[in-house]
């Protein structure tokens, strides 16, 4: 709920600023921001369920801190109000040994098994394609960008997990939590600060939050649903990035 408030607040700030500028239109002789495109990269942290490693939470994602990079920018349509866009790629790591061991321990308990072997393959990769209103506040060579955005998240891959329990006659076959690749809706907001090096170039830092209900996850080969059963993988990320901007 807190995230919704933050994003709603961003919308309000952007449109309040837009209204204020509209009122100043008559005596306005300012030079407004020009559209720009930026190449950026940085750190993407999974938050909430996405980064959780709690076996008992079926929405735990076991995602890890990773890298993000992409292009983003804004096309200004009225003074400092524009349409912002982001196309980014995220790598959120993969399950580590401690994760698979924890899953193995807990599946052993859930199934009252003699033992469990858990194997995880693949990484969390996703693309974010987001657009939304952006307003920029200018102070000398500094530009503060506020943006709320919505769009799609393309899950390129999630880890595939195989589980083999032993000593359980009812579950002799290996069962699989299959990898998922799907388009899902996403939304978010970001705050960025750019510093203009010249009329054509700028550098900047940005903090962005992205959230999504995430893709559905399929499990195959289970004869019963003892223990952890993942059906949905909610995604939430907080990203801190540095960018290089071309102004045109």
């Amino acid at each position: 709920m807190k995230r919704v408030y933050i994003i709603a607040s961003l919308f309000i700030i952007i449109f309040t600023a837009f209204k204020a500028h509209a009122q100043d239109k008559a005596q306005d002789n300012k030079i407004y921001e020009k559209s720009y495109i930026a190449l950026y990269g940085g750190v993407s942290n999974p938050t909430g369920n996405y980064g959780s490693t709690d076996y008992n939470n079926n929405k735990s994602g076991f995602a890890k801190k990773g890298v993000t990079f992409g292009i983003e920018g804004a096309i200004y349509v009225y003074k400092n109000l524009g349409i912002g866009y982001t196309l980014s790629f995220q790598d959120q790591g993969k399950l580590i040994y401690d994760d698979t061991y924890s899953l193995a321990q807990n599946y052993t308990t859930s199934y009252a098994a003699d033992g469990t072997t858990v194997s995880a393959t693949g990484r969390y990769h996703n693309w974010n394609i987001l657009v939304g209103p952006q307003y920029s506040f200018v102070y000398h060579k500094f530009v503060l960008d506020l943006r709320a955005s919505a769009g799609f998240i393309k899950m390129a891959s999630t880890p595939e997990i195989s589980v083999q329990v032993t000593g359980v006659p009812e579950q002799t076959a290996i069962f699989y939590q299959r990898k998922s690749s799907a388009f899902v809706v996403g939304y978010g907001g970001n705050v960025g600060l750019r510093y203009k090096l010249s009329d054509g170039f700028a550098i900047g830092v940005k903090g962005a939050y992205i959230s999504s209900p995430g893709p559905s996850i399929k499990t195959e080969g289970r004869t019963d649903n003892l223990g952890r059963l993942v059906t949905k993988l909610p995604i939430s990320e907080f990203q801190t990035t540095l960018g290089f901007t071309i102004i045109f």
């Binding site: 990269g41 890298v67 990079f69 790598d91 993969k94 040994y97 899953l103 003699d114 033992g115 393959t121």
Partner: protein, 189 residues
């Protein structure tokens, strides 16, 4: 130069995507075994019975105290017993190592087999004297909890129709352990 800015940007993006997509995707595997209070390794596989009964029985006539244990799961059964002569009528048990001798100290490995139209647990081989031991390492006679280990092997000799030995197979019951396992003390009076 200005015309090259955007293509260079996009090229850098594509390069980054290529690098990250090729990150390490090797499988990560872990195995965890049961932490059950009673477990053993049967022929290399961990086995934790879901049914365990542990008794210490005192016979006042022979003044013998007998520890007996039966664990059952997945059509397998492990049994052992240790008889302690010249004992008193107390719920404890003398700590120590008890080697299987076929008399006071016995062990058996059984599997569920079809016999006479029904499935019953029958010995799978013979546990001969010297084939293993039971070690009692701790006992709490107030809480009636016992801790120890066991290991033995059971040898099966296979014959052909003419009575000739064709093979010998061995079942290894190793790394058996029981930790603070509750037992029932009874007096056969």
């Amino acid at each position: 130069m200005n015309k090259l800015r955007l293509p260079v940007f996009l090229l850098l993006s594509a390069l980054c995507a290529f690098i990250i997509q090729s990150c390490n995707k090797d499988a990560v595997t872990a195995t965890a075994y049961t932490t059950a209070a009673f477990q053993a390794n049967i022929n290399g596989a961990t086995w934790a019975p879901d049914s365990v009964s542990m008794f210490i029985t005192y016979n006042p006539d022979s003044k013998t105290k007998t520890l007996s244990c039966v664990g059952t799961k997945s059509q397998k059964q492990v049994l052992f017993s240790v008889a302690l002569p010249n004992s008193g009528d107390t719920p404890g048990f003398t700590l120590g190592t008890y080697n299987i001798d076929g008399a006071a100290v016995n062990a058996q490995y059984k599997t569920q087999q079809l016999s006479g139209g029904s499935y019953v647990f029958l010995p799978h081989g013979t546990v001969e004297p010297g084939a293993g031991s039971i070690i009692i390492t701790a006992i709490d006679s107030v809480k009636k909890e016992i801790t120890g280990t066991f290991s033995f092997y059971s040898r099966t000799t296979n014959y052909d129709n003419a009575g000739n030995v064709i093979s010998i197979s061995v079942d290894n019951i190793t790394a058996g352990e029981f930790t603070n396992k509750s037992y029932i003390y009874t007096n056969n009076q």
